[in-house]
Symmetry: C2
């Protein structure tokens, strides 16, 4: 394998496409030498954006893909029908090993479905989970699964725990990451049917550092490095995290603007406050990888701006250089 | 029925029992004329606290209950065995119609189990859900179910929606409350098996104002008055709400204290900020009623202080005066 990482980027996906996506790609190649980007999408539109920037022309290539898959389309059907869409063309580049990774801010459903249908699962992986990093008072935690497999089974959750553990250890550099399962009480006998089934299986895993249940209240305090849950619950956690954070900051802003005295105070606090809240900004951490595929597929926020797109692309470098997929493969083999 | 409402209060339950519970009871009778409180628990301990306060002696009665159910006990077993516990004695007062309502900050499991076993369900109610109010940018929303019935069925969720709707209309005075189901996407075809089954049933209900799915991201913005979900998901939402709110405020405080300039600013902002954030304080809204029982059972936070206990007791007045249970009964009868 070459030393440089090639990332296929869906130039047409997301609320701010193509401008912010293309800008993010340019920022990524400007910041990191070992990266090449292949932008997929309408080539005329992409070229019109690219001429705005100065960058190493050899490291951004455009591959024409005239079709676009929207959020309103049924994912599997869209992947099958729109062979010339920016998502399908990019995923095929990963499949054919012409790209190491794929980043998209487009339809989550289409990225998940396409990842599985086109790139395919690593042998032994039952369900590839979507695993974003969420900010905590301690740093970050990996939330796995946050939306790929609703109504998952206990055996799936066990694999999520293992893959998440490998990710946190190798991409984030956390030794022996703490793994916990989301539950509605701390005791082993608490929970719904799925959690009750999964808990003893996780407890029996010698290759992860399972610390037991985590209540949702403890998640923002960074109680665990890998937070395992079924996709419906994970999606609720991720979205509430984003929504509540934004709502509270909104509320605080209006509080700061409510009196003349507080307005003056706000002026003095603003820089320090901004700096602190940056740590709690999910977009800082790039996109969510779909773990367990034969290649790296990263879903970034639909409303991602250039910085988040850049971060999502750069994240692919660590993932690929650390051979996460080889480690997952090796690990599942050892456990057979 | 007499005009005055009698509320049995578990004096021994919660992290701050008995001091804060008893203080809360005293505050409640001081603030509201039409209320009587029966404190259940160790009478010597309770009397020792009560002598600290000046209040209408006829409106706080003590009923001796020497046993205490802890959070670590298996709920159903504890309810069956500890007949002289503060929870069982209080619930029996409700069962025997000597009290209209019961408030406890003690073991959630024991309150839920005891409510069902001793007070019993209203005829026609399949599962009584726990329904707290959560703060939003718009006011409050009722989250139903937040922990009583994990692995519920679609028919249960439909009843949650109806009971929640009656509660919001009559206790909060919101005409034609908007009802939504927690989902991982806005479209009808999204969701897990339970949501997919429940959605068309809710859509077919002519007696509620069903507005469709709500994503967790929208909950803090007050997108719906009644938020329906299965208990595991509801519990995650409630606890993440509390945990993330506290963590963010913690983060903001440390940001405000990080520089000399920001410290000065913080001093100026503090009163306005405090006032604004009060609206987002869950404890302001008292406890969570267990809907659908033959009497009112209210679970308040384990860490409740006197103000929250007082609010939880006062909340029983509206509930009882508005004849919520009669309305639920009437409603379910009409729907048979």
């Amino acid at each position: 394998m070459h030393n440089s990482i090639t990332v296929a980027v869906d130039a047409m996906g997301g609320d701010n496409a193509p401008e912010e996506i293309i800008k993010g790609a340019v920022l990524a190649v400007q910041d990191e030498k070992d990266i090449k980007v292949i932008l997929t999408g309408d080539q005329d539109i992409i070229q019109k954006e690219l001429v705005k920037y100065t960058y190493d022309k050899e490291r951004i290539i455009v591959v024409h893909a005239p079709e676009v898959i929207t959020n309103n389309e049924a994912p599997v059907l869209a992947i099958r029908r729109k062979k010339n869409s920016s998502i399908v063309v990019a995923l095929n580049l990963v499949k054919q090993k012409e790209a190491d990774a794929f980043v998209s801010a487009g339809s989550t459903g289409a990225v998940l479905a396409g990842g599985q249908l086109l790139v395919g699962r690593i042998k032994g992986v039952e369900r590839p989970p979507l695993a974003p990093l969420i900010p905590t008072l301690n740093g970050v935690s990996l939330l796995v699964d946050c939306g790929a497999n609703v109504d998952a089974r206990a055996s799936h959750l066990v694999q999520f725990a293992k893959m998440g553990s490998i990710y946190m250890e190798n991409v984030l550099g956390i030794p022996n990451p703490k793994v916990a399962i989301v539950n509605i009480g701390a005791e082993e006998e608490k929970g719904n049917q799925l959690v009750k089934e999964t808990f003893p299986l996780l407890k029996a895993c010698s290759d992860i550092n399972f610390i037991g249940s985590i209540e949702a209240r403890e998640i923002p305090y960074g109680g665990a490095d890998v937070i395992v849950c079924e996709a419906f619950v994970g999606n609720v956690i991720l979205k509430l995290y984003e929504g509540l954070g934004a709502a509270l900051i909104n509320k605080i802003k209006s509080g700061l603007m409510s009196t003349t005295k507080s307005k003056l105070g706000a002026l003095l606090c603003k820089p320090a406050l901004k700096e602190t809240l940056k740590d709690f900004d999910a977009s800082k951490y790039g996109g969510a990888p779909l773990l367990g595929l034969n290649g790296l597929v990263v879903k970034t926020h639909g409303n991602a701006k250039s910085t988040e797109v850049r971060n999502s692309i750069l994240q692919c470098v660590t993932f690929t250089k650390q051979h996460i997929n080889d480690k997952i493969m090796e690990h599942l083999k050892n456990n057979e």
